[in-house]
Each structure stands twice: as structure tokens, then as C-alpha cells.
Amino acid sequence: MALYTRAGRARPQRSGFELGVWYLMRLSGLALFVLALGHFSITHFIFDPATQTAQWIVDDRWGSVLWRTVDWLMLTMVVLHSFMGVRTVVQDYTAGGARTALTMLLYVTGIALFLMGTIAVMTLPFPVK
């Protein structure tokens, strides 16, 4: 691809990263519309928070592969969406070194959180019925 436009202006390096983030925010937002709102409704309207003990989660909710998958999907989406969202906020209000540092910190936290969540959802043994 030509490095200059026909008007003689240097063409920007096309990375597509921001486009990716933009698209991702929309797609994950749509997914979360179902997943997060669904999750919140189930945990608050169908059941009551008080009844959702660790035992119940392990035995009932995560007793099914389907629910583990749904929860993991939600985890993925929410981590992607919210960390990329906060990245936007950080990039808006910071500049220079602080921006790089905070963004890196955010990525690291995001990955750590994603791993923790994955371990929590995926590694518990299924209950023996």
C-alpha cells in the first residue's frame, strides 16, 4: 500500500486495533445484554441472594455443564467489555507515561481476573450425586 495519499499526506499506519475495540464493545455489549441482565435477574428475582450459598452454587448451578458454560461466557464477555471500557476511560483522562502504566496495569488485572474466574468456574469437581 502506498505510504502517501493522493493528496501527499502520510497515510496512517493501519492497525485496526481501535476499530476492533469499538466492534468488540458493541458485540460484547449485546451479548451482555442477555447474559448479564439474565444473570442478575436469575440471582435476584428467581432466587434470593440469601439462598445462594457456596454449597448451592456447587451442587445446583455448577452441577450443569450448560450453566458453567454460560457463566464462563459471561465472564469472558464481561472482562473483555468492562476492561476495554475502563481502558477507554483511562485513555480519555490520562496522558503520557501515566497512561501507558495504567493501561498496562489494567491489562494485567484483566488477565488475572479472567484466569481466576475461569479457575473458579471450570476447575471445581462436579458434585457426586
Binding site: 458493541r26 455489549g29 449485546l30 451482555l32 445484554f33 448479564a36 441482565l37 442478575f40 435477574s41 435476584h44 428475582f45 434470593d48 441472594p49 440469601a50 445462594q52 450459598t53 457456596a54 454449597q55 452454587i57 456447587v58 465472564l75 464481561v78 472482562v79 468492562s82 476492561f83 471500557g85 475502563v86 476511560v89 488485572t109 481476573l113 481466576m116 474466574g117 479457575i119 473458579a120 468456574v121 476447575t123 471445581l124
Partner: protein, 123 residues
């Protein structure tokens, strides 16, 4: 801050709430993944945390969280609609009002369900 002098309209409020709610939910997600981690790591501690969530203060907090989530989700949808059908920007205010209508219609019963145990003394 001179920026605070600007009297933005619906669009600016919609964005400010969206941003605030987004960051708030993000903060909660941090917490929530940590507590879910406890289900595998330390069940006793998890159940203690759960009591906090189910307490009256916790319930008010959860209601606020729900409100933030609902607003953010509805406004997020509004943004996505405009992104993919730019002609709808003409109605951006109406879309915002509509999202508030849904917010109230869905949110009020929801809040009632979450908060009822406080005075019903269920927990």
C-alpha cells in the same frame, strides 16, 4: 473546572451516566470475581460474604448495582442502535426517554423484589 460550566443536554447526561455506571459495574465485577473465587477456595468465607450481600445494606447496594446495570444496558442498546442505523440519531432524545420508561417499568418491580425481604424479615 471550566468544563462543568457546559450545560449539556440529554446526550451529555446519557453519556455521563453511562460512563459512571460502566465504571461502577466494572468495580463490582472485580469484587464479584474475587468472591466467586472463594466458592472453590474458601467456602466458609464465601458464605460470610454472602450474608453481607443479603443484609439490608447489601440489598440496597445490589439494587443500586441493578439500576446501574439496567441503565447501562438500555443506554448501551440505544448507542448500538444509533451506531448501526445512524438515521435514528434524529431521535436520540426520544430513545433516551424510552430507555428511562423501560428502566422504570422493569426497575421498580425488580427493586421491590430485591428489597422486600428487608421489611418482610425473610432473611
Amino acid at each position: 473546572m471550566r468544563y462543568l460550566q457546559y450545560r449539556g443536554g440529554e446526550g451529555m447526561l446519557a453519556w455521563a451516566f453511562h460512563r459512571i455506571s460502566g465504571v461502577a459495574i466494572w468495580a463490582f465485577v472485580l469484587l464479584h470475581v474475587l468472591d466467586i473465587w472463594l466458592v472453590g477456595a474458601n467456602r466458609g468465607l464465601y458464605d460470610d460474604v454472602l450474608k453481607l450481600y443479603a443484609s439490608p445494606v447489601g440489598r440496597v447496594g445490589e439494587t443500586l448495582l441493578g439500576a446501574a446495570l439496567l441503565y447501562h444496558a438500555l443506554n448501551g442498546l440505544r448507542i448500538i442502535v444509533m451506531d448501526f442505523w445512524p438515521a435514528t440519531t434524529v431521535f436520540h432524545k426520544q430513545l433516551w426517554y424510552a430507555s428511562w420508561v423501560v428502566f422504570v417499568v422493569v426497575g421498580l418491580p425488580g427493586a421491590y423484589i430485591i428489597l422486600r425481604p428487608i421489611w418482610a424479615g425473610v432473611s
